[in-house]
């Protein structure tokens, strides 16, 4: 497969999606993140890997958590960061994406972190950007959100160590969720024994079984004996048409409560990419409970994003030199 994300030596040049990547590369991302996880414990909470590099956060959709953790990750690698919130900038004045790209390239940057409401936007930019620039997809439409998937995988590995025996349920609005898509690919590549998607018929895309998942419409049956539960946010801002009667009714059928959690494996962990809607997809007692690893996901997100940024920018010059003593 001709993967635009990889360079001629199959190293990560851009990070656009999980689909099509090899298991070894995903493990390399997790291992690199593990070696960067303690950087904040030093008096100077930085390593100088990307010193002198310029990272531009290009956010065409509002985001707080993802943009902040990308910014923090870049700063912990000693890069300089510029934030562009485009809905308030040039695109509203009619500038095309390519023109904007050329202008930003002229500012001598090294990486774009892109979030866009159109699926494929990051891929499009990677095809047209100057060769020395890396693109990282921070979420494109309903397509992929690869760094979220990798931080989820990191968190799962932290608690479960081995992916192969795991049963994982992804619950909620699968239809609009780029997180679900990236997670399904990642779990499949890493060899999880069973990946389930659970939700109402209106929020599960047709043909999703082709990705190798089992579909459940009943929450209790879908969570039976699972080791990991990934709850998804109900993305009401993306919904057009009457897909749901009401948030209240949704919670009655698909909200995760302590009672329903009892059908999962006793050591099951509960994850959520955030922001959580308490009382809509998850009950407060579960979100704040002992099995919730939601805040751990946020912390891990910084190290995982550092790993991806360092890996993509380390492929830019490649003559191999021997270790100097």
């Amino acid at each position: 497969m001709n993967n635009i994300q990889l360079d001629s030596q199959n190293r990560l040049k851009h990070f656009l999606g999980i689909e099509g990547l090899k298991r070894d590369l995903l493990i390399e991302i997790l291992d690199t993140a593990a070696s960067l996880i303690n950087v904040h414990e030093k008096a100077v909470k930085k390593v100088p890997l990307l010193r002198g590099k310029m990272v531009i956060n290009l956010f065409f959709e509002p985001s707080t958590r993802t943009r902040t953790t990308f910014e923090l990750a870049a700063k912990r690698l000693s890069a300089d960061v510029l934030n562009f919130n485009i809905d308030t900038s040039s695109s509203s004045k009619g500038e095309t994406l390519i023109d904007m790209l050329r202008n930003l390239e002229a500012m001598h940057c090294d990486m774009f972190v892109v979030r866009h409401n159109a699926s494929g936007a990051a891929h499009f930019m990677a095809q047209h950007v100057a060769s020395h620039i890396s693109i990282i997809n921070a979420g494109d439409g309903q397509h992929e959100h690869p760094t979220q998937a990798m931080l989820d995988m990191y968190t799962i590995r932290q608690y479960k160590s081995d992916f192969t025996p795991l049963r994982v349920a992804i619950v909620g609005d699968i239809l609009h969720s780029r997180v679900a898509r990236s997670n399904i690919h990642a779990l499949t590549i890493l060899g999880a024994s069973e990946v389930r998607v659970v939700g109402p018929k209106t929020l599960i895309p047709k043909g999703i079984e082709e990705l190798g998942v089992k579909v459940f419409h009943d929450l209790k049956r879908g969570l039976c004996d699972v080791d990991v539960i990934i709850m998804l946010r109900l993305q009401r801002e993306r919904m057009q048409g009457a897909l749901l009667p009401s948030a209240y009714e949704y919670f009655q059928y698909y909200g995760l409560t302590e009672k329903i959690l009892n059908v999962a494996h006793p050591d099951a962990i509960v994850m959520h990419p955030g922001p959580i809607n308490r009382g809509v997809e998850i009950d407060s007692t579960v979100a704040d409970g002992v099995r919730s690893v939601i805040l751990q996901q946020v912390s891990n997100g910084i190290a995982v994003r550092m790993a991806v940024m360092a890996m993509t920018l380390s492929t830019m010059e490649s003559p191999s030199l021997k270790k100097e003593q």
Partner: protein, 167 residues
């Protein structure tokens, strides 16, 4: 170089370090080995000196100046400094001192943990080829090698020095 010879070098380094610590009246030192060969040497010296403070390990992979040339190694074991660096006397240990770039990177990393009172550099082998103004305080042995030749420490048990290269 035989195992016995390396043991002799380590003993003479330990004796010298012992005197050094006594003269300077330093008992609360932190010994830090640089991953991986430096850690092996530091483990031996730590044991010979019978130091009461735990041994630290430094992995300078994220501080190298050739990161953009050689890329990132995915299995970087994190640095562990078991004691506060701030205002403490440090004994920094490496296997081979050549260009001085590893020590430059190690000093930068140590200073990201705090401001040490002093850093004493101890190396098993010091060879020619310095590219930075860095000199060791304690040396096992000094070698003069031709350009293109490299010396490598194998370990951890037993320790063995090998000279490689075509020149």
């Amino acid at each position: 170089m035989s195992i016995n010879q390396i043991d002799m070098l380590l003993c003479s380094m330990a004796n010298y370090l012992n005197q050094h610590l006594k003269i300077k009246n330093r008992d609360d030192v932190l010994m830090i080995g640089i991953h991986t060969g430096g850690v092996w040497v530091a483990e031996r010296l730590h044991s010979l000196l019978n130091l009461s403070t735990p041994l630290g390990q430094l992995n300078i992979a994220f501080y190298r100046d050739d990161f953009s040339h050689i890329g990132l190694h995915p299995h970087v074991k994190p640095s562990t400094l078991p004691l506060e660096v701030e205002n403490r006397h440090i004994i920094l240990v490496d296997d081979v001192l050549h260009t001085g770039r590893t020590i430059r990177a190690a000093l930068n990393e140590i200073f990201d943990y705090g401001r040490p009172a002093s850093v004493t550099l101890a190396v098993l082998v010091e060879r020619n080829g310095r590219e930075l103004p860095i000199q060791p305080d304690v040396i096992g042995c000094s070698l003069c090698l031709e350009n293109g030749k490299h010396i490598k420490l194998h370990g951890p048990d037993p320790l063995c020095l090998e000279i490689r290269g075509t020149a």
